[in-house]
């Protein structure tokens, strides 16, 4: 397989200007991830700053209410800043510093990756600019303020639909202009090589921990892994350490945003409604019209509201290693409530998609079966949004 490809997916589809920066990043990735001093520093930050390992928690009341498989939650919601995004942001910021870059840029949709990058920049003393669509800024005003508190500049993007994909275009334009001094902290396992591999590497800590934890608690591997898939970094982070042949008994399910149903521009289920395309740096499944223009998406969850998906997921989809499904906005909102009521855990709306699929799956399975759900983030950021949906206005 050509380097940077997962089957026919991946590659580098970017302006020539960025190629040396991608080569430099690839080189640094290969060098520093073998460097003991770098890895020790990353380990220390993971343990004492991010708060790893995050617990694997048996959700007893939730499982019993479903009446079937035992459901475990991988508690990424407990990580510093409230989501798995920090695993990637801290790792890339450390790499940027090692490469001598003084400035970080990032895109953000829901604001979680922006907050994580602003946090890592503050931690390491780097400048930080975060690109965010103006529509998302209105939907997530709390996170905009959090980023500013952390010393980042939030740059409003008012082109296109004013959402995540437009923020990525603008971040890429910034990077093309300031490539010599700036590192682009891409927030998911997407984009041009080496990002899909680099982000997976940084997020695989989720699956490595979960595997050891479930073996410790149950003495065996789980039967199912479930994770939501926007760009797909929390999912690939959980799945990847289980992908080798010996673990082929582990069923892996990626859950996309079904939004209002599978009709154009009403969802973000790329495998249900997309086809192969080239977008924002790589070849992957893409929601597009017949002329190759990229379609807008809809999801109640800003973090899943994206037209394409990480290229490794497209590969895993095609070879049948991972199955992909979707849940609708309504199903995700019901799961959001259900987990809060049964476990006292308010999940992020993104993670609520994975929970919603567990609600469907668990009752169909024997009580001896084990499900691990990646609870990729906490729902504090979504409380106001959900209140508005329920007709409560503050």
């Amino acid at each position: 397989m050509k380097e940077g490809y997962f089957g026919v997916y991946g590659g580098r589809f970017v302006p020539e200007t960025l190629v040396p920066a991608l080569d430099e990043l690839d080189e640094a990735y290969k060098t520093y991830f073998k460097d003991k001093a770098f890895l020790d520093e990353l380990d220390i930050l993971r343990k004492y700053y991010i708060g790893r390992p995050t617990p694997l928690y048996y959700a007893k009341r939730f499982s019993e209410s479903l009446g079937g498989a035992k459901v475990y939650l991988k508690r990424e919601d407990i990580a510093h800043t409230g989501a798995h995004k920090i695993n990637n942001a801290v790792g890339q910021a450390l790499l940027a510093k090692a490469m001598g870059k003084k400035r970080l840029i990032a895109e953000t949709g829901a604001g979680q990756h922006g907050v994580a990058t602003a946090t890592a920049a503050a931690l390491l003393g780097l400048e930080c600019d975060v690109y965010m669509g103006t529509l998302d800024m209105k939907r997530q005003s709390l996170n905009v303020f959090r980023m500013k508190l952390l010393g980042a500049r939030v740059v409003a993007v008012d082109t296109g639909a004013q959402i995540l994909k437009d923020a990525i275009n603008e971040a890429l334009r910034d990077w093309t202009t300031n490539v010599k001094t700036t590192h682009y902290v891409l927030g998911t396992a997407f984009g041009p090589h080496p990002y899909p591999s680099l982000v997976r590497e940084l997020q695989s800590v989720i699956g490595i921990e979960a595997k050891a934890q479930i073996l410790d608690m149950e003495g065996r591997l789980p039967n199912y892994l479930i994770a939501c898939v926007g760009g797909g970094s929390n999912a690939i982070g959980l799945f990847h350490p289980f992908l080798d042949d010996l673990d082929s008994r582990v069923n892996m399910i990626g859950v996309e945003a079904g939004g209002l149903g599978i009709e154009p521009e009403r969802h973000a289920a790329r495998f249900a409604g997309g086809s192969i395309g080239v977008f924002q740096g790589c070849k992957s499944y893409l929601l597009q019209d017949e002329d190759g223009n990229v379609l807008n998406t809809h999801s109640v969850s800003a973090g899943l509201d994206y037209s394409s998906v990480g290229p490794e997921h497209s590969y895993l989809h095609d070879i049948g290693k991972v199955s992909y499904t979707y849940v609708t906005d309504d199903e995700a909102l019901r799961a959001f409530d259900e987990l809060a009521l049964k476990e006292g855990i308010i999940p992020a709306l993104e993670s609520a998609h994975a929970v919603a699929h567990a609600i469907k799956l668990a009752p169909t399975l024997a009580s001896t079966q084990l499900i691990v759900v990646n609870l990729s983030g906490r729902g504090d950021k979504d409380v106001q949004h959900v209140a508005n949906i329920k007709g409560v206005h503050f």
């Binding site: 589809f13 302006p15 040396p20 190759g292």
Partner: protein
């Protein structure tokens, strides 16, 4: 060897005359396709040597605000790659000027690489510039372009290493496009000696003509660039003039650019 393409013939002719190529860019379908057809002929009348025709795309990540907005207007009019090919086919009854499409890769990929090459060459397209297609990707597509004599014009940038220059030089046909700045279309050009140095580096590696673009707006800037390169590409400021100025003002501006490029002394 392949038959000489219109682009190579145009450059050969200019080089014989010791003249430089003027390559204006316009967005197909901005303000509409009929106007685009007229504009191509107007540009030719006012001295253009090669026309660069933009294909609108929803997410033009190498373009600045001027061309982004032009693409949005064209898309709102329902302009597609297919319609742009039909436009070129119609133009071929009236003009023999070399036409290069500037398109992002996804519309071509979705069209089907092989189908696109066949239809584009049949319609009279001479070459393509794809800002998000690197010369080391999509080998089959790039090879097929060569087989069907559709010129593939790759870009080089101030950040390009010697290895990248060599690669682009090998893979480019027609000419090589040097992006004068690290940045996006429509940004401000900084006329400094590094542009000449990089153009010379490319020339040491390749016999192919080198055209320079990105950020060139005024006749004075065009003249400066014409001194060091084989061709001058002007995009955003023409797109802007099409929208903001009268046809007479546009013609005056284009003629001034032509004059500046054609009378620039060498070196």
């Amino acid at each position: 060897m392949y038959a000489k393409t219109r682009i190579s013939a145009a450059f050969d002719d200019l080089i014989n005359k010791k003249a430089k190529a003027f390559i204006p860019y316009i967005m197909a379908g901005d303000p509409d396709l009929d106007k685009t057809a007229e504009l191509v002929l107007t540009l030719e009348d006012c001295g253009a040597d090669i026309i660069e025709l933009g294909v609108p795309f929803s997410d033009p990540l190498a373009d600045g605000p001027t061309i982004q907005r032009a693409a949005e207007r064209a898309l709102a009019k329902g302009v597609t790659l297919k319609k742009v090919l039909t436009l070129v086919s119609g133009l071929r009854k009236k003009t023999n000027i070399p036409i290069v499409l500037m398109t992002y890769y996804n519309p071509v990929f979705k069209y089907g690489g092989g189908e696109f090459i066949k239809d584009a060459t049949e319609c009279g397209v001479d070459g393509i510039i794809v800002p998000d297609l690197l010369p080391d990707e999509e080998e089959t597509f790039i090879t097929n372009c060569k087989t069907y004599a559709l010129d593939t014009i790759f870009l080089l940038a101030p950040t390009s290493t010697t290895k990248r220059v060599q690669l682009a030089a090998i893979k480019s046909t027609g000419f090589i496009y040097y992006v004068s700045i690290t940045g996006i279309t429509g940004a401000n050009i900084i006329l400094e000696s590094s542009i000449a140095q990089m153009v010379n580096t490319i020339r040491e590696t390749s016999q192919k003509p080198v055209a320079v673009g990105f950020g060139i707006k005024t006749p004075a800037e065009a003249r400066q660039v014409a001194r060091i390169a084989d061709g001058v590409i002007v995009g955003s400021s023409i797109v802007k003039a099409i929208n903001d100025s009268s046809l007479d003002e546009l013609k005056t501006y284009i003629r001034a650019l032509t004059e500046a490029i054609k009378t620039a002394p060498d070196g």
